[in-house]
Symmetry: C2
Subunit: 509 residues, 2 copies
């Protein structure tokens, strides 16, 4: 990967002085065209060896273009806010929206490479991280991000010369610290790790561009002209290139039997039983939420279900048991303008809780494979890839200690019409029923099919779906509470000195 | 993944008898349309739990369609031919060509899943295998293969019932052996391994379709109708969906300096020096080829270079040192009709040697990123992805003990014209010069650029490029021999009782 970059590339000062103003102007134009065009964001990663001019490049790009429309982020040691979330969270929240340029000075590759060089991670863990990066970058590209990755390189003699030079000049001596010299000692190891890393994370859509870093003029022209060419290519291309539809179809079951129809929607729980059970389970949930062991965990609860299935009521029975400082409700409707300018998972990543907290989603990222699929808001290749992307997302949460609990509240078609009509009659409930609900009802079968595909493709050991029979609201609310309690208990493990298994686990999808 | 499949799906016999003839006819039609259409191959994988009807399904598909145009393969324990090649070799050689249907009864997923269930592989190795599968399947899809993956499932009670039933009937008792019962004991473990496996290898383009296997009618209709729907969708869609062009451009270096221009093409080796060196290095190569340690290794040597750079002459100096029974020359020209009907790497996989052998490629898979790129025989997204695919291919070779040695023979533009003119003058050399050579020469700069991108993107620790200064043929031939010897020596390791390092290693790209 470094064959060309190891050569002594140079651009004469006179050439640079002649070319730089032209490049600068063209870049500024492209930046404004991008802003106007607004169809895609640009994300520039600046990475590479120490002393190869990464910082200078980031600064230069901000000088050349209008810095008000560039989102530049460096990622030093994570903050406590960041440490309490999955590693990718900090990058998600820094993503540039459509029409803008983001510059990441170091990014998701930094920690894996550095840890591997230091021997803190093994070959297997490294391969796993690399894989996660590949899937993440593929998702970004599929979402339309123009991802430009620059790896600034120095040969070993060049790195040495660079550090010596910095040392000699009192104005720059502070930049050649012991840390830099320690990196130099690791040079060979660094190259041995980063070579296969670059190779395996170079794809057709997001190849690493290795840039020789020793000569500032050469480096600057190379990065600048590549950004310009990539921007122009994408801007001048109408329409935006989309994923081809190469997906085999998903068909409904041949015998009409599915996980929803297999449910007994009417359950016998009475009001009196409900009151007693409610107290029991809310009490247990409250205790768990204050358990010291929970301070290292968090809960992401997802509520999906038919219209009028009672999601709101079930959620209230959960939050009643929680301290208001420690939970947050997220009601998901159509995305805002800001959210539409980002990859679709962005609006959910922003709400991922810190440790010790609950976040409750009333509708969620599953809209992608439900309403967006059914209404044609996204194309088939896009919702087909979403199953895998959602599984990746939830796996990242689960790996980071988040307990992911997902409910589908199911009611029958008759029960729904009863509830719709009741809502239309009762004045204070009328706001709950809209034309859209009636339209959705006409697509009952499409939704049923989409829900079954969703359960089959996203119910995982880490993040299983719980199907809740919800014709009887009492039953539904208790099953939700009980499931939550059992999932949290299972995640916390047995209390010290106590035996395992506090009760029968709620049946899951 | 198994939520729906765990339900007791059934199709009544009368329904099946009514539907089956219609389905059969439609499948047969689709098969013939596919043959006529000839734009893409179909590869059907039949996998899943023991007793779920995999064999029956394979047989049925062969009954329903015209078996003369179906390539059915099972993959029992590998033959010695297969064991001596990388694991994917056996699947490559069984791939169906365009216009045909291939059915694989078990495939590349079988061994990883089974080994993981048996605890023979760890989590990390499993993740690595899974990753290799993902990359392989993505390549197949990008090459236009319609990949249909069926996972036949039984719930635990269903599997038990099925085995009992087989046992009771003397005609089928042979199918419920101890082996099957041992699989049953592992049922839970099998599901725990296969669930995340299916999830992570399900992509939008090649999702696993989980098929409930207990009821033969249900299972057969499900698989048959899905194949039909997938075939029809792709057949009725013109043109074939292609990868979008979302690649940022690759630009030449800003200062015109590159790895080729950095070479000193004229080297001083004299005829007398050459004769002596030739004897020395051919002798060492011959000894190595007969070294007992070489019986577990093999060599794949790739010769690329400018037209008239002397590839043929260099190759002859190599083969002169080898026993004709143990090497094979592959001269790569335009692909045959059979080869064009396959993914582009197929025609090279066929020539991968057994252990203890040499295969020498005069031109190679690098045509994809050289002539095919330059002449526009393949689109930019296709040659851009090829760098990664080629690296994957060579990594598989290297992991399996193959020593991959790649030479670029470089001559100058002046030297080339001299040789062209000489060839035109000498009668017995005239066959070596064609109009194409002259046309290629006009694209000298394009080739130079493509070669540099190739070296930067495919020179790896396992499979480095060696750039050979070839204006002086003597030098070139000796460098080739010397490099080969050093690479083989390094791979075999120090001989017992001897010290390391037999001489200076040839300088590599």
């Amino acid at each position: 990967m470094f064959e060309s970059a190891n050569l002594d590339h140079k651009i004469a000062k006179t050439v640079y002085q002649r070319e730089e103003p032209k490049l600068r102007e063209a870049l500024l134009h492209a930046q404004y065209d991008l802003k106007e065009d607004g169809r895609f964001p640009v994300l520039i990663l600046i990475a590479g060896v120490e002393g190869a001019g990464k910082g200078e490049t980031v600064n230069l790009l901000n000088e050349w273009m209008d810095p008000r429309h560039i989102l530049t982020h460096a990622f030093p040691d994570p903050s406590d806010e960041e440490r309490e979330r999955p590693p990718l969270w900090r990058y998600w929240r820094a993503l540039p929206p459509k029409g803008r340029i983001g510059i990441f000075f170091g990014a998701w590759h930094t920690a894996p490479v550095v840890q591997r060089v230091r021997g803190e991670t093994g070959e297997a863990e490294f391969a796993d991280q690399l894989n996660e990066i590949l899937r993440f970058e593929k998702m970004l590209c599929d979402e339309g991000v123009l991802l430009l990755k620059y790896w600034l390189h120095l040969s070993k003699p060049q790195q040495k010369a660079r550090l010596k030079q910095l040392e000699r000049d009192p104005r720059t001596a502070w930049r050649a610290t012991d840390l830099e010299w320690r990196y130099f000692d690791l040079y060979n190891k660094f190259v041995r790790v980063s070579e296969p890393f670059l190779r395996k994370t170079s794809t057709g859509e997001a190849p690493w561009i290795v840039v020789p870093g020793a000569d500032a003029h050469y480096r600057s022209l190379t990065v600048g002209r590549h950004i310009l060419a990539a921007l122009r290519e994408r801007l001048d291309e109408k329409p935006v290139p989309r994923l081809p539809d190469r997906n085999p179809p998903l068909l409904p079951p041949e015998d009409q039997l599915n996980v929803l129809r297999a449910l007994t929607l009417d359950q016998p729980t009475t009001r009196d039983e409900y009151r007693e059970l409610l107290e029991t389970w809310q009490g247990r949930l409250n205790l768990l939420s204050r358990d010291p062991r929970f301070r290292k965990r968090s809960v992401v609860a997802v509520f999906e279900g038919n219209d009028a299935a009672g999601k709101g009521g079930a959620i209230r029975r959960v939050t009643q048991a929680l301290d208001a400082r420690f939970y947050h409700n997220v009601s998901v409707a159509a995305p805002s303008e800001e959210e539409r300018a980002q990859p679709y998972l962005w609006r959910f990543w922003r709400h991922i809780p810190r440790r010790g907290r609950f976040v409750i989603f009333d509708r969620s990222w599953y809209g992608r494979v439900l309403v967006e699929r059914i209404e044609g808001y996204c194309a088939e290749p896009d919702w087909m890839r979403a199953y895998g992307e959602i599984n990746d997302f939830e796996q990242q949460l689960a790996r980071n200690g988040v307990i992911v609990v997902k409910f589908w509240l199911a009611i029958g078609k008759d029960e729904q019409i009863k509830r719709f009509e009741e809502r239309e009659k009762v004045a204070f409930k009328r706001f709950k029923i809209t034309d859209e609900d009636w339209r959705n009802r006409e697509k009952w079968d499409d939704y049923e099919r989409a829900v079954c595909d969703m359960v089959d493709r996203t119910s995982t050991a880490d993040a299983p779906w719980t199907l809740v029979e919800a014709n009887n609201k009492y039953h539904a609310r208790i099953k939700v509470l009980e499931t939550l309690v059992h999932r949290i208990e299972a995640a916390l493990g047995p209390e010290k000195g106590k035996a395992k298994g506090k009760g029968k686990r709620a049946k899951r999808a």
